[in-house]
């Protein structure tokens, strides 16, 4: 059954790649159908829990094709299918042919290629084929990202993405080759017994982590997600980085891991969660804010995964399973609400043409749908009940608290993680209160903001669908239980067997009740207010005569207080011109938050390498006699080497 759905999915997506450049409608149809088929295939895996496997005699690159789809990969495939479909529809409104005659066709082709390659990454079960699919995925991501390569910023971001992604791929080269050298073949599969493979986990963590973009490997992420077209940012943030998570989950499940793995992963997760959201809070570019928020959420996922590893380390503790379920559920939730938020950001960008929050404001009047949906996404991403963000965070919390209650060594990892999780939650609330408020509320700060327009149906439809998903996942999370259970079983067979969905079930009812009460109370108050008549008046500014849009809090001033506490890592660059004289003519306060890791660590290191390169290149100065001298030098060097060798 699974195979019967997977095959058409692949075929349809291939056809979408073929027709994409020419026939947009046909492409949309194929892509949606393919995504639907993939989603169906993923769903068929969950109830059985067994997973699906298919081995053929057909050789590709000297290896037999071996496909497999189990609980773990199905979770990610379902996400990829949903976002892939939604983004395809959204792109039709956001990046239309008449707007971008040159790049829209290319965008369609690469989009389908990206979705297809992600499906392949999730299904192939052979090292060589995995690398093929992985690289295809990375490169199609690059071409999607640089759809508009005439902008220097886009080119720079694209190159950074490509370079870091290849650095990760090189780690994966080493990982898979070592694996092949250890096991004698490229075929992948559970090898939980073979302890000699444990050290390989570090390579996998580095290689996949580069894609997952946890701190400090996130260097490529902000600029890439900010400069890409918004539907691309959405799938990159919602799904692509999850592929890195998939790699870590997959191979930490299949291979034994070193004892320190759980500690390192949970530590990296905590670091990414806290610093990611701190950076997000300090951003002025709302797409960068969303990008950094992705770093935070990857951190949350890693906290869950690390707890799961610790739980497996300490004799299959049940809390490990809870944490794993929470992590996987958060993969789903983050995919849903982050895609929604990037779509919202996209329609704002589409309507106003700027990514600077401080140039926006009061957009809710012109674009109420976007404002409402963005607000809903913000509630979800801040992890507030009754939406889905809270559900997964609660599962992770439960796992961590049980780890603490277990009073084993792992408690010392769990307790800081809990505190970090809570703090990052509060920071996320601040960050998204800021984003929503500065973009959509108050008065318009510039003309383009005042002249904004609501997005069209092609863009609104997917946003509504994703908002619906967020709502459903929040109100009835128990629907996902079979998926999580089968994934946990696929990750660690000892965790198969029935485990009560009790937390999710109760939480679902509570959320439902909460939502109902909220709706009731809200409408009641609204009616009450209408009853005793409602009057409009200018904002009361404590007696100040002429309140103007300039007096509103900007994104910088909003973040100032909390970001100040993280100045040690944010290192904001301020340019300040103070107010002078009795009738000050002009005052200025610019604040830019640099990419700390990139600008303080990576660029200097790269600078050293480039200096070496320049020094070496000076040797190729074109003077023939020196070239012959090099030949003689080579001769002498090899002679010395051989002489040393031949010494007894």
């Amino acid at each position: 059954m699974t195979g019967l759905l997977l095959l058409p999915a692949v075929i349809l997506l291939v056809m979408a790649v073929v027709v994409g450049a020419r026939w947009p409608r046909l492409w949309l149809g194929f892509t949606l159908a393919g995504a639907g088929a993939a989603l169906g295939a993923a769903l068929t895996v969950f109830p059985s829990g067994g997973g699906w496997e298919w081995q053929s005699k057909f050789l590709l690159g000297g290896e037999t094709v071996h496909l497999r789809l189990d609980g773990v990969s199905a979770v990610f495939m379902a996400l990829a299918a949903v976002v892939g479909g939604a983004g395809a529809v959204y792109a039709r409104g956001y990046w239309p042919d008449h707007g971008h005659p040159a790049t829209a066709p290319r965008g369609r082709v690469w989009w389908s290629a990206l979705v297809l390659s992600m499906l392949l990454v999730l299904t192939v079960s052979n090292g060589l084929h995995f690398l093929m699919a992985w690289e295809a995925f990375a490169i199609s991501g690059y071409f999607l990202l640089t759809l508009d390569p005439r902008k220097p910023a886009v080119r720079a971001a694209g190159w950074l993405y490509l370079a870091t992604s290849h650095a990760g791929t090189v780690c994966l080269f080493a990982f898979f080759t070592l694996l092949a050298a250890r096991t004698g073949g490229w075929d992948l599969g559970p090898l939980r017994a073979d302890a000699s493979c444990a050290p390989l986990f570090w390579l996998a963590l580095a290689g996949f982590g580069m894609k997952a973009g946890f701190f400090p490997l996130h260097i490529w992420l902000p600029s890439a997600h900010a400069n890409a077209p918004s539907h691309v940012s959405a799938i990159m943030s919602g799904v692509a980085i999850k592929m890195g998570v998939y790699g870590i989950v997959r191979f930490s499940g299949w291979l034994p891991v070193p004892p320190a793995a759980g500690w390192v992963v949970i530590g990296l997760g905590a670091l990414s969660a806290l610093l990611g959201i701190a950076f997000a809070l300090a951003q002025n570019d709302f797409k960068r804010l969303l990008a950094y928020c992705s770093v935070e959420n990857i951190g949350i996922i890693l906290i869950g995964l690390g707890a799961a590893l610790l739980g497996r380390e300490h004799g299959d503790a049940g809390w490990g399973r809870l944490a794993l379920a929470g992590a996987l559920l958060h993969v789903w939730n983050h995919g849903a609400f982050k895609t929604l938020l990037f779509f919202g950001a996209g329609s704002v960008l589409h309507a106003t043409g700027t990514r600077e929050m401080s140039r926006l404001g009061g957009l809710w009047r012109r674009m109420p749908w976007t404002a409402g949906l963005f607000a809903l996404g913000s509630v979800a991403v801040a992890g507030l009940p009754p939406l889905n963000g809270f559900v997964s965070e609660l599962l992770i919390y439960l796992g961590l608290f049980d780890a603490v209650a277990g009073r084993q060594a792992s408690a010392w990892a769990a307790m800081p993680a809990v505190i970090v999780l809570a703090m990052s939650g509060a920071l996320a609330l601040a960050a998204f209160a800021k984003a929503g408020a500065i973009i959509f509320l108050g008065a318009a700060r510039t003309k383009p903001a005042a002249a904004a327009h609501e997005c069209d149906g092609w863009m609104r439809g997917p946003m509504l669908a994703l908002a619906g998903i967020c709502l459903v996942l929040g109100l009835a999370p128990v629907l996902l239980w079979p998926a999580l259970a089968s994934a946990a079983a696929a990750w660690h067979p000892a965790w198969a067997g029935a485990m009560s969905p009790e937390p999710l079930a109760t939480l679902g009812w509570v959320n439902l009740g909460l939502a109902a009460t909220l709706a009731a109370a809200g409408s009641w108050l609204w009616r009450k207010v209408r009853a005793n008549n409602l009057r409009r008046a200018p904002t009361w500014d404590c007696g100040y005569g002429v309140p103007s849009a300039k007096m509103q809090y900007t994104s910088g001033s909003f973040a100032g207080l909390a970001a100040g506490w993280f100045g040690w890592v944010l290192r904001p660059v301020r340019t300040l011109r103070r107010v002078r004289g009795h009738f000050p003519a002009h005052a200025l306060r610019l604040e830019r938050v640099p990419e700390t890791v990139l600008e303080r660590v990576v660029f200097p290191a790269g600078g050293y390498v480039m200096e070496v390169s320049t020094a070496v290149r000076r040797l190729q100065h074109g003077r023939l006699s020196a070239y012959i001298l090099y030949v003689v030098a080579g001769l002498a060097a090899l002679g010395v080497l051989v002489f040393m060798e031949s010494l007894p």
């Binding site: 000076r618 190729q620 100065h621 074109g622 003077r623 023939l624 006699s625 020196a626 012959i628 003689v632």
Partner: protein
């Protein structure tokens, strides 16, 4: 007896090396080179063993090639370029001579470490070859005029030929085919190139040939 004659000639060739290193005048350089060629040419005949046609062929070809043909080519190139001095070389003349002398001593020292066949034990063939090769390299590296570099290359070839004399009895093909092909074609083409460079850059100073670089 024979070995001593041979060694005398080899010593002469080594002396010519130092002369080539020391002179700043191109005609002198070319003369030294061609003289060395002639000496090398007659060597196989003096090597004692009965004269079969191959050895004679090698000898004649060498004398003709290294002694007459190439020098005349180079003189022609020199005339067309109207240069007859090597000015400000990369490695000064005295320094080159010292280097060459040092190299010669080093070659002699090195030869004692190497296992030689009894019939070659006493001869200067190996050290002479090494010293000549070294001289060739010094000229190639140290001089800037294309013509002097060609001479350097040819002296390098002489060194290799000198070494080849060790094998001329056992494996003549290697020696003669190698040397002949190398010399004739190589120098012929280098001649052409020198000519063309002369026309393209109206100079034979290879320091002008640095438009291609990083």
């Amino acid at each position: 007896m024979i070995n001593s004659n041979l060694n005398l000639l080899i010593g002469l060739a080594m002396g010519l090396n130092l002369l080539a290193l020391g002179t700043s005048r191109l005609p002198a350089l070319i003369r030294a080179m061609s003289a060395q060629g002639v000496i090398l040419g007659v060597m196989p005949i003096l090597m004692g063993h009965e004269l079969d046609w191959q050895v004679v062929l090698v000898a004649l070809a060498t004398v003709a090639g290294k002694g007459l043909l190439i020098p005349s080519l180079l003189r022609r190139a020199m005339r067309t370029a109207q240069i007859d001095r090597e000015l400000d070389p990369q490695i000064g003349f005295v320094a080159s001579m010292l280097l060459g002398a040092g190299g010669t001593i080093a070659a002699l020292a090195l030869t004692h470490q190497l296992p030689l066949l009894p019939e070659h034990s006493g001869s200067l063939l190996v050290p002479g070859a090494l010293a000549t090769v070294l001289t060739g390299f010094i000229l190639l590296i140290g001089r800037t005029k294309a013509i002097s570099q060609v001479c350097g290359y040819l002296i390098l070839e002489n060194g290799i030929y000198l070494f080849g004399l060790l094998l001329i009895k056992a494996m003549p093909l290697l020696v003669e085919a190698g040397v002949l092909l190398d010399l004739t074609v190589g120098v012929f083409i280098i001649g052409i190139i020198v000519d063309r460079i002369q026309r393209a850059f109206d100079s034979l100073d290879t320091r002008k040939l640095t438009t291609l670089h990083e």
